[in-house]
Each structure stands twice: as structure tokens, then as C-alpha cells.
């Protein structure tokens, strides 16, 4: 994100050499991913071959049950759960017990610190933040910050991140899909706009460092072979419509609305067309958007997500659409991954499965989008209109290095996951057991940091004239029309047997 938002952190990214914030983000993420992979390898059970065989058997039993055609919903669910359990047993992760996270709660927030089995998660939280404090502390130290200033600030920043996550875990808030990113922003904004943040806390505030590290970790979750999870219809609904909507919305913002900030335009276009908050984070980092622009795009996206999550299932039911068509429409249009599943679940199980899978395929798109946006920004947007096209060496000079880490992690884990059953189980174990929890905390720390550095009045300035709202509404309208058309064409006209095989 841009220098005027954080002069302290943007400058190191643009320095040459290896001692930059970008490379440190890549390095920290690689240590985490490499450590998690090593832990899975060291903890590999002696009877791994039998466990692999048990997975194959569980899958065969599911196939037999479905071939029979007489299976009840409960039997089918049980057989599917058996496949998932068998896969998990192939590559257990010994580090997962130390990956502290909070849980959902209703009226007593203390319940957030116990997992579903009633075990306290406080030790895990302490362990994860201690580990992150060491890694980020070493990085910050090499980047010119003082470790003795950084660590106390990081401890308080971590406490604020946990508080934001606990706010997000309240069951009603969770039910409406109001993610921790929003509450982390709120926590930071409240402090910075009331009493002001203490100086020692600001020593650990470094939005870009946390976001870039989180993004490289997120790269490991972008598994390209998942693209084919819904066959050709899924590819068309997710990978054809989404880029068309993204590019059209951005062009509309630039040429018709004449938005003053191309980066705000891009972040809103991406979070609306791809997958909400995670796409907003990735594109904001790729095009060096201002922190306030990212906050605004996320606020806009979450507000529309809540409305669409409630309205779309009602419209689909009223229109008498099939579950598969309705699910694909929901999956392709509602921004947030969580809200997509909630809206699909309001219809039926088939709609839920299609909606969740279409959104999963869209999630994978953020790798290509982040890379494409970074290249476009370096070659077109940051170039003065009359300047010649930059040479390859110039592009390399200005290209955000952490994007290479993001794409690299994605390629490595995609190859590992596609390598076979063992590789798939190991990749899942590294992601589910370690990296996704740390990635979540990195983003939470980043959003608390954004809130701590943001003034309410500055935020209001970006909304002037209502152009962001007009952009979002117009883009989302196009998205709704194109996605519905493509889903209808694919699932009802071109591949009707695919839809039949899901409802059978």
C-alpha cells in the first residue's frame, strides 16, 4: 500500500537488495510453511500405506452407496464424513494443537477461549503470538526497528487482535457474516479516534508487513487443480464471468465515473467480482492501494453481502429456480465465501454444495488476479502517459516481490496437492493445521493496524460523491445478470446431465 498511507513501511519495499519488507514477508511465510511441512513429515505415521488404503476404501464405499441410489441423506453424509476423516488420518499435523484460535460464543465471551471439546485455547494463543512476535520482531529489527520497542507493542497489538476476533465470534455477528476484518478495523479506529494509541503500541503497527506475510501464506491455499472441481460448467461460471465483470467494472469506474483513484476502483471491482475481503486484501497489496481505500471497499462489500445473503435465496425461491442454478448464481455473485454457504444453505443441500464449490473456484482466481493487477499497475498505471513502455528490467525493479512469494507458494502447494493422495493429504494438513490460522491472525493484526492509523474524517473523504457506491451497485448488477445467464446456459442447456447427477 502507498507511501502516503505509511511512509515507514512502503519505502523498504522499493529499496533494492534482499533486506526489504517484501522479501522478509516471503521469508517469514516460507519458514512457517516449511516448518509445518517438516512437522508433518516427521510426524508421519508408520502405517501411512494402510491409512492411504483406508481412504481409498472409504471413497469406494461412498461410490457404491451412491450407485445404489437408495441411500438416505444421513447415510450419504456419514459416508462423505468417513472419506474426510480417512484423508485427515493420512497426514496428522503435530503443530495443530499449538495453533490457538477463538471459538463461537453466545452470551459469555469466556466461551471463546475453549474449543469444541471444552479444552482451553489460551496456551495455543500464547504460543502462536509468541512465535509470530519472534518472527516479525526479527524482520522488523533487520528493517530498522528496535526489537525492545517492537515486542511490547506487538504484545498489545496481539491482545487487540484477539479482542476483535472475540467480537467477530459472537454467534449473531458470525451468522451475518460480519468478519473479523471489520471488527479489527473498529477496534483500531475506536482507539485512534478517542484516547489515541500509545506510542509503544505504534512501534508494532506495520500493516503492510502483516498483510504481505498473510498473503504469501494465503498463496499456499490457492490450489489450482480445485479449478476443475465443478467440471466445465464451474470453469465457465467462475473463470469466464468473473474476469469479464472485474475488467468491465474497472473500465466503467475509470471512463464513466472518472474515479480519481484507480486503486480504489480496482479494489472495489475485485472484492465485488471475485471473493470479497480476501480479494480486496490481495489486490490492494498488488496495486499499493491506500489503507483507507481497503477499509472502504471492505465496509461496502460486507454491507452488501448481508443484504444479498438474505434477499437472494428469497428471490431464487420465488422465481422457482432449480437448486443447482440458484446455488451457482449465489456462489458467483455474493462476495463473501462464508455468506455464500449461508445463503446456499437457506435453499437446500444441493444449492449449498454448488454455491460453496463455485465460490471455492472463484477463490482460486485471486492468485491470477493479484499477479495480473501487479503487472498491470507496474506496466500501465504507474507509467506516465507519454513515457515509453517500461523494459523488463524496469518491471522487475518495481514489481512487488511478495507477489512472487504468493504465486510461488500457490504453485508449490498446487503441485504437492495434485501429486497424489499422499501429497493432497500433506498439503491439506499444512494448510488446515497451521498456515490458515497464522494467516488469519496476520490479517487481523493488519486490520487493527489500519484502524490505529486511520482518522474517521480521512475515511469519509474517500466516499465523497458516492462514486464508490455507484461503482459497486453497477458492477454487482452486471455480475448478477452475467452470472445468472452463464449458470443457466451451463447447467440447464449445455450440461443439463451434470445438474441431474447432483440432484439424483
Amino acid at each position: 500500500m502507498t507511501a502516503d498511507a505509511s511512509s515507514d513501511s512502503a519505502s523498504p519495499s522499493r529499496r533494492g537488495g534482499w533486506n526489504t519488507e517484501d522479501w522478509w514477508s516471503v521469508g517469514i511465510a516460507l519458514v512457517i510453511l516449511g516448518g509445518a511441512f517438516a512437522a508433518v513429515r516427521i510426524g508421519q505415521p508408520a502405517d501411512v500405506d494402510q491409512r492411504l488404503q483406508a481412504w481409498v476404501t472409504a471413497e469406494r464405499e461412498l461410490d457404491l452407496l451412491l450407485q445404489d441410489g437408495q441411500a438416505t441423506k444421513a447415510e450419504r453424509k456419514q459416508a462423505e464424513a468417513a472419506v474426510g476423516d480417512a484423508k485427515k488420518k493420512v497426514a496428522p499435523n503435530p503443530l495443530s494443537a499449538w495453533m490457538g484460535k477463538t471459538s463461537s460464543w453466545k452470551s459469555d465471551p469466556r466461551a471463546a477461549f475453549f474449543d469444541s471439546k471444552g479444552r482451553s485455547t489460551i496456551t495455543g494463543l500464547l504460543a502462536i503470538f509468541a512465535g509470530m512476535g519472534v518472527l516479525f520482531g526479527v524482520g522488523a529489527c533487520f528493517l530498522g526497528r528496535r526489537l525492545d520497542h517492537f515486542l511490547p507493542g506487538f504484545a498489545l497489538l496481539s491482545l487487540l487482535a484477539v479482542a476483535a476476533q472475540v467480537l467477530a465470534d459472537q454467534e449473531l455477528i458470525k451468522h451475518f457474516g460480519l468478519e473479523y476484518a471489520l471488527w479489527a478495523l473498529v477496534v483500531g479506529l475506536i482507539i485512534s479516534n478517542t484516547s489515541g494509541a500509545p506510542t509503544f503500541l505504534m512501534a508494532a503497527v506495520n500493516t503492510e508487513f502483516y498483510i504481505k506475510t498473510g498473503l504469501v501464506l494465503l498463496g499456499a491455499e490457492v490450489l489450482f487443480h480445485r479449478l476443475l472441481a465443478l467440471g466445465l460448467p464451474g470453469v465457465f461460471v467462475s473463470w469466464v464471468v468473473t474476469p469479464i465483470v472485474l475488467i468491465s467494472t474497472f473500465a466503467f469506474g475509470q471512463r464513466v465515473l472518472k474515479m480519481s483513484s484507480p486503486s480504489l476502483n480496482m479494489v472495489i471491482s475485485a472484492d465485488m467480482s471475485v471473493c470479497g475481503v480476501s480479494a480486496a486484501i490481495a489486490t490492494a497489496a498488488a496495486c499499493r492501494a491506500k489503507k483507507e481505500e481497503l477499509s472502504l471497499a471492505i465496509g461496502l462489500s460486507l454491507a452488501f453481502t448481508v443484504v444479498m445473503m438474505i434477499v437472494m435465496p428469497a428471490v431464487i425461491r420465488a422465481a422457482g429456480m432449480s437448486s443447482v442454478l440458484g446455488g451457482a448464481w449465489i456462489g458467483g455473485t455474493i462476495d463473501s465465501t462464508g455468506a455464500v454457504a449461508a445463503a446456499g444453505g437457506m435453499l437446500d443441500n444441493t444449492a449449498l454444495q454448488v454455491a460453496a464449490t463455485v465460490k471455492m473456484i472463484q477463490n482460486i482466481l485471486i492468485g491470477a488476479v493479484a499477479f495480473g493487477v501487479a503487472v498491470y499497475w507496474v506496466t500501465c498505471v504507474e507509467r506516465t502517459p507519454d513515457a515509453p513502455r517500461p523494459r523488463l528490467s524496469e518491471i522487475w525493479q518495481r514489481f512487488p516481490r511478495f507477489i512472487l512469494g504468493f504465486v510461488g507458494a500457490s504453485l508449490i502447494f498446487s503441485l504437492l496437492s495434485a501429486e497424489g493422495r499422499w501429497g493432497d493429504a500433506v498439503a491439506a494438513s499444512v494448510i488446515d493445521g497451521v498456515s490458515k490460522t497464522i494467516r488469519g491472525w496476520c490479517f487481523c493484526l493488519a486490520f487493527v493496524s489500519i484502524g490505529l492509523e486511520t482518522n474517521f474524517r480521512v475515511l469519509a473523504k474517500y466516499f465523497a460523491g458516492g462514486k464508490p457506491l455507484i461503482l459497486y451497485v453497477c458492477g454487482q448488477t452486471l455480475n448478477l445478470i452475467l452470472t445468472l445467464f452463464m449458470a443457466w446456459l451451463m447447467f440447464e442447456k449445455v450440461f443439463p446431465h451434470a445438474a441431474d447427477s447432483l440432484t439424483r
Partner: protein
Amino acid sequence: MPPTPSPAETRAGRLRLLAATTIITTLWLGVWPAIADWPPFRAQIDHNCELGIDPSAKFYTEQPVAAAAVISISAAQRRDAEAWWSVSD
């Protein structure tokens, strides 16, 4: 460097922080739990829990139901691969 706030500004800032904290505490400990128990919301929350849906998931890897969907759809594709990859006549 921002100017150092006067003692009166500091006190006012702390009071605003206290007020914001009180509002959040009241909403999260009193209002939201009461609204969550309103029957239509309660039914929907319980329905999501039963299906393993996390409405606050940011990425598919955080969504428990996504893994189950992949298993189920993969099984449907193994059963009838043609339907997913060949254009219908």
C-alpha cells in the same frame, strides 16, 4: 510529530474511549444475545451449525462445508464423468 494533547484533551479522549467500550459491552453482552434468541434468527443459526456452515469464512479453506462439497461433487463426477466434461447433444 503530532502536537502533544493538553490534559483536558487527554481526559476527553479517555472518556470517549470509555463510552465506546461501554456501548460495545452492552451490545455484545446484552443486545446481540437477545436478538440471536429471536426464533427466526435462532432457527437460522442452528440450521447453519447443523450443516457445518461458517458464515464468517473468508476463504474456502475456512469453510468446513466446502471440503464436504468437494467430496460429494467428486463422487458425482466419478459416477458420471461424461456429464461434466462433454457437451450435451
